[in-house]
């Protein structure tokens, strides 16, 4: 917290909107569901390791859907797995977000034509907020996707009544 204690050490008062404060807190601590489905999960693990250090975005992997904000669907979603993903998504508490990582999760990838066992896009079972193309995407691409999601969270309102 270098910025805060060096510039504002004298007990100053901040003025911001409540939405701005809440959204800043939310987008800085997007806890992630800890699971991977295929080779994209390797890139996701690389993003978690020290070179890319996903934790600087406040992303912590959690092993239970009850504690997470965002689900990275990292890899091929088979039809057998799709119902499990749907259930995990339903178990997450709102507000919840989904990042579809890689071609398989987005549209079926190389399995689009002959992959009888692959769901052609995870958006057929759960809503997706950010799609990341690539096969698999580099960790930088995943970080870019996370920043896109942060932009989305920043524009939301937790205070206004939703329809």
């Amino acid at each position: 917290m270098g910025l805060l204690d060096q510039r504002f050490e004298n007990g100053n008062v901040f003025i911001t909107s409540l939405d701005g404060l809440l959204n800043w807190a939310r987008l800085s601590s997007l806890w992630q569901m800890q699971f991977g489905l295929a080779c994209c999960a390797i890139e996701m693990m690389a993003a978690s390791a020290s070179n890319f250090d996903i934790m600087r975005f406040g992303i912590i992997p959690r092993a239970t859907p009850r504690q997470v904000d965002v689900m990275f669907v990292a890899g091929t979603v088979t039809i057998k797995m799709a119902s499990r993903i749907k259930r995990l998504y339903d178990q997450m508490s709102e507000p919840r977000y989904v990042i579809s990582m890689g071609s398989c999760a987005t549209c079926g990838g190389p399995y689009w034509e002959h992959g009888y066992h692959v769901l052609k896009g995870v958006d057929r079972v759960i809503p997706v907020d950010v799609y990341i193309p690539g096969c698999p995407p580099r960790p930088e691409a995943l970080l870019e996707g996370i920043m896109k999601l942060q932009e989305k969270v920043r524009k939301e309102s937790m205070v206004k009544k939703r329809a």
Binding site: I79, K80, A82, W112, E113, Y116, H117, K120, R124, V125
Partner: protein, 158 residues
């Protein structure tokens, strides 16, 4: 031991159950009757001169002319020799005797062949689908397979 010698031993022991053979293939094979596989495989495993103690692979086949088959790749770790067995059945009568009592490996291999080709292995202890969901329609690796439109409300084709 060469494929010819193995074939001769089997032919004298089982006679008509050993149908044909091909030695000039890259992997010489012997065709056996589908209702005698267990008996023949027990002999191949237990005979001291043969000792095929290792089932390398068991594959289902669809020859696209109404004929289905199973191919067994056997190896002997003791004697360092190999043989391939083939057995055929028709689409109307997809029954082949299970060899899972001979080699435990065959249990899941046969479940896979049942899952993807619909070949029924008689006397198998637990013949369920291995890879696809239990309520899946059809057997995906058949040549005439058409994928189902929906599975539990999820659209399957692209």
């Amino acid at each position: 031991m060469t494929a010819q010698e193995i074939f001769d031993i089997l032919k004298t022991k089982f006679g008509d159950a050993i149908i044909e053979t091909k030695f000039d293939a890259m992997q010489p094979w012997v065709r056996i009757a589908p209702n005698k596989t267990k008996e023949i495989c027990f002999f191949l495993r237990d005979d001291s001169a043969l000792q095929f103690d290792y089932l390398s692979c068991l594959s289902g086949m669809d020859y696209n002319n109404g004929t289905f088959g199973v191919v067994y790749h056997l190896a002997s770790i003791v004697h360092r020799h190999k043989i391939v067995l083939k057995t055929f059945c028709t689409k109307d009568n997809l029954h082949i005797q299970s060899v899972s009592a001979v080699w435990g490996t065959a249990n899941w291999h046969e479940r896979e062949a049942f899952d993807l080709y619909g070949i029924i292995f008689d006397e198998h202890p637990d013949l369920r689908r291995l890879l696809m969901p239990d309520d899946w329609e059809g057997h995906p690796l058949r040549k005439d397979y058409k994928v189902q439109e929906f599975y539990h409300g999820m659209k399957v084709p692209y």
